[in-house]
Amino acid sequence: MTAGLALRAAAVVFVAALFQAAIFSSFSIYAGTPDVLLVTVISLGLLRGSVPGAVLGFAGGLVVDLLTLETLGLTSLVLTLVGFWAGRYAETTARGRLMPLFLAVGVMTVLAGFFAFALHYMLGDSVVVRHALFTTLWPAVLLNLIVAVPVHALVRTLVGKRTTFQPAGQVELVA
């Protein structure tokens, strides 16, 4: 990743974090809220690979935690793993698949929701299980899937696609 491209990717994550904290978090449709930052990090992971995905996820999470005066590192940890997993998915399994974006966004929204719930629970925050894991999570998955296409298209236009991913490990039959 060149310095210019890295700066552009960082700017994309920064703007997504600002929009998420200041605007999208207040939109509630059927109790769900679209997570534009999560979709952006997934998109960057898919387009640029696991390491940029993890680093940009960490940075985006840190911006959100700072803006919301939330416990520092909480969103960073979730988004680091989301970016890393999306990148690994693109580098290995997703090649040749028809809809890696939708699969990644759907699965990662659910996993990130459960992981964030576990973190908040361990920190002693009072979270309503039914509300966090059922009432809001499934509408959020749907909303994230809806915003995935425009967000991915925008990120792809701004950051571009990595030309080649390292091939997955090959094996040979010995017996």
Binding site: T71, F84, L173
Partner: protein, 299 residues
């Protein structure tokens, strides 16, 4: 059948890439865990709290800028949304105005009588709203970012005189309490958070209890610890009770509207009534709030 990797060298070009990848994500995860631990342990007072506050202050103009850009679109959305409910809302409000006009006249008589009796008795009282506080208007800059947080960030902070535990209200009623302050920013824990409990009373019967978040719901509240003898009815107004004793007083001054009773129930086995309260404030649509600063606090 047995399989083995084509390239057995662990640190070949691909092995080095994998090591770098694991190293980077490992460092980031450890860094995030360290930040969580330090932030959680130090709260807003420790050294990390200062860095947190400084970072939030630096980012604030960007968030305000984005908020300003989005405001016309938000207004347009709200305008269209309100059009659908306008007719039924107007009819309901007309009826409410009629009722309130009658009550206002009765209340004015009661207020005058109350003032006279207080003067005669030389009655001493705890801090009450709004007389003993001045409201500091603040824009809501950041809203809850997920289902896990019931807090908003407002654009006033320690340099405006805001302190932790200052109550926060909206025109409709009680919003919550300040839990963290930074220069120019404060975090307000909403009443819909499970950790908040507000001593309150039924305005009609003076039945007292504690308003807290109802488990299993998002924004419904319950008035807990109401005795079975108290005759609470659906539609009763709940306001903060406030109290003062031995030099201490409630964090919430008395007289702030909280919500209206939507259901009352009791079982033979329960010690108290189950009173459900619908908050007056729509916590999901907060744009501006008032942070209440005691008049006694030096400015």
């Amino acid at each position: 059948m047995t399989v083995r990797p084509v390239s057995p060298t662990p640190l070949g070009p691909r092995g080095a890439g994998a090591l770098r990848r694991r190293l980077v994500v490992g460092i980031l995860v450890v860094l995030a865990l360290m930040l969580i631990s330090l932030s959680f342990r130090s709260g807003s007072d420790g050294s990390l709290g200062g860095i947190h506050a400084a970072g939030a202050t630096v980012l604030r103009p960007f968030a305000v800028g984005v908020e300003r850009v989005a405001q016309p679109f938000r207004d347009a959305y709200n305008w269209v949304d309100s059009l659908f409910a306008a007719r039924s809302e107007a009819e309901r409000l007309r009826q409410e105005v009629e009722d309130l006009r009658q009550r206002a006249i009765q209340n004015e008589f009661a207020r005058q009588q109350n003032l006279t009796l207080r003067a005669l008795l030389e009655y001493r009282d705890g801090p009450s709203f709004p007389g003993d506080f001045h409201g500091l208007p603040a824009e809501v800059t950041t809203r809850p970012t997920g289902a896990f947080t019931q807090a908003v960030v407002v654009a006033v902070g320690s340099d405006d005189g805001v302190r932790v535990n200052d109550p926060v209200v909206a025109p409709e009623g009680l919003v919550g309490i300040v839990t963290r302050v930074a220069p120019g920013l404060s975090r307000v824990q909403l009443l819909s958070d499970q950790q908040l409990a507000v001593p309150s009373l039924d305005l009609r019967t003076s039945a007292s209890g504690i308003v807290r978040h109802a488990r299993g719901t998002r924004e419904t509240l319950v008035l807990d610890r109401v005795r079975k003898e108290d005759r609470v009815r659906v539609g009763d107004e709940i306001v903060t009770a406030g109290w003062a004793a031995s030099g201490f007083s409630s964090l919430y001054p008395k007289g702030i509207p909280v919500g209206a009773v939507t259901s009352v129930g009791q079982t033979d086995t329960d010690l108290y009534q189950q009173v459900q309260v619908d908050p007056y404030v729509d916590f999901g649509a907060l744009d501006a709030v008032l942070v209440l600063i005691p008049e006694t606090r030096p400015r």
